[in-house]
């Protein structure tokens, strides 16, 4: 499964579930923006490693609002503590999707430790995350996207040929917060 396809599927399910979607720095955000821009998407342009944390803070602040995060293997490896914090709070309205392409896809496909066998799903389970699934095709991913907890989606390396996002950070957060704050009460 290509990451581009996985992101398209996640964006579709996010829309169906009326979920707010936090997407990771670099090509993942660009691929999401190119395929399915919605004001409910928060494109994280900096702060590598923190997509999962931003989503968790949002999910805890808005417990009746579905929150989905598109993260990557390199980014989660940079903020492994997030797995322990997720396990501690385990909100019912939160789903962390790790798109594992075994490399730093936005900087030249340098390999990450998952290419050598580091198992992020196993690490999440060991951290205490109760619902963890591993998928490698569209059917498996679709099913996992309907749930909560954490899904590790194995995807192929490589980026789609998509432009950079032409929204300002101010535009991204303004329209995102409008949706977040107009949604169901916290």
């Amino acid at each position: 499964m290509k990451r581009f396809e996985a992101i398209a599927l996640a964006a579709e399910v996010a829309e169906e579930r009326h979920a707010l979607l936090i997407s990771n720095i670099g090509f993942p955000s660009r691929e999401l923006y190119a395929q399915k821009d919605r004001p409910q998407n928060f494109y994280m342009l900096g702060s590598m490693g923190l997509a999962s944390s931003i989503g968790l803070g949002l999910a805890l602040a808005k417990p009746r609002q579905n929150v989905m995060v598109l993260d990557g293997d390199g980014s989660v490896l940079m903020n492994l503590g997030t797995l322990a914090t997720l396990a501690a709070y385990n909100p019912e309205n939160y789903l962390l999707v790790i798109l594992d392409n075994c490399c730093y896809g936005s900087t030249g496909s340098e390999p990450t430790c998952t290419s050598l066998g580091t198992d992020l799903a196993g690490m999440a389970r060991a951290a205490g995350v109760r619902i963890v699934s591993v998928v490698s095709d569209a059917v498996g991913l679709h099913n996992a996207l309907l749930g909560r907890g954490l899904v590790l989606a194995k995807v192929e390396p490589g980026n789609a040929d998509v432009p950079i996002i032409d929204l300002t950070p101010h535009e991204i957060i303004e329209r995102f917060m409008k949706c977040a704050l107009e949604a169901e009460p916290s």
């Binding site: 923190l50 944390s53 803070g57 949002l58 805890l60 602040a61 903020n79 322990a84 914090t85």
Partner: protein, 166 residues
């Protein structure tokens, strides 16, 4: 007044209802007060940078967030403060135990302690150091108002003399 209580009352006056934290010995009482407060969602985190992320998400979800940490954690948070909070204009109240300056017994605290005000200045994050508990409540509330009106973090630095003040 008790210094921890003064800071806590400042947080209450500001309407802080979400707090991420990494402990410091000087924050012990304050963290206890925050943890017991049913109006504040308290999330202990594993690293301060993670707390910056959580607080940003909480802000986008309508909360008034604070990050409680030692100044060593400022070093762990700089990229996040800059490329998340300053980039998007996200307010955050930073309550920082300022170690490594006058009266510090632990040598390892000294380098970051000396650099802390300069690092905040470099990021154009305003910081305030109340001299005593008497001033802290208003300083904390003011720092949050400033963060909110300027759409960026603001910091309160609480040094060793502050924690010894009455």
């Amino acid at each position: 007044m008790n210094p921890s209580l003064a800071v806590y009352q400042g947080m209450k006056q500001a309407g802080i209802d979400f707090a991420a934290s990494v402990p410091c010995i000087n924050l012990q009482q304050l963290l206890h007060l925050v943890a017991l407060d049913p109006e504040i969602k308290h999330v202990p985190v594993t690293r301060e940078e993670e707390g910056v992320g959580l607080c940003a998400g909480a802000w986008m979800g309508g909360k008034r967030p604070a990050l409680l940490m030692q100044n060593s954690g400022l070093g762990n948070s700089i990229n996040a403060l800059a490329s998340l909070d300053l980039l998007y204009g996200i307010p955050l109240l930073l309550i920082i135990s300022h170690r490594g300056i006058k009266g510090e017994p632990i040598v390892g605290q000294v380098p970051m302690g000396r650099m802390t005000p300069g690092l905040l200045d470099a990021m154009q994050i305003r910081h305030f150091s109340p001299a005593s508990a008497g001033a802290a409540c208003e300083t904390v509330a003011c720092a949050w108002r400033l963060a909110k009106s300027e759409h960026k973090p603001a910091a309160v630095l609480l040094d060793l003399e502050f924690w010894r003040s009455i």
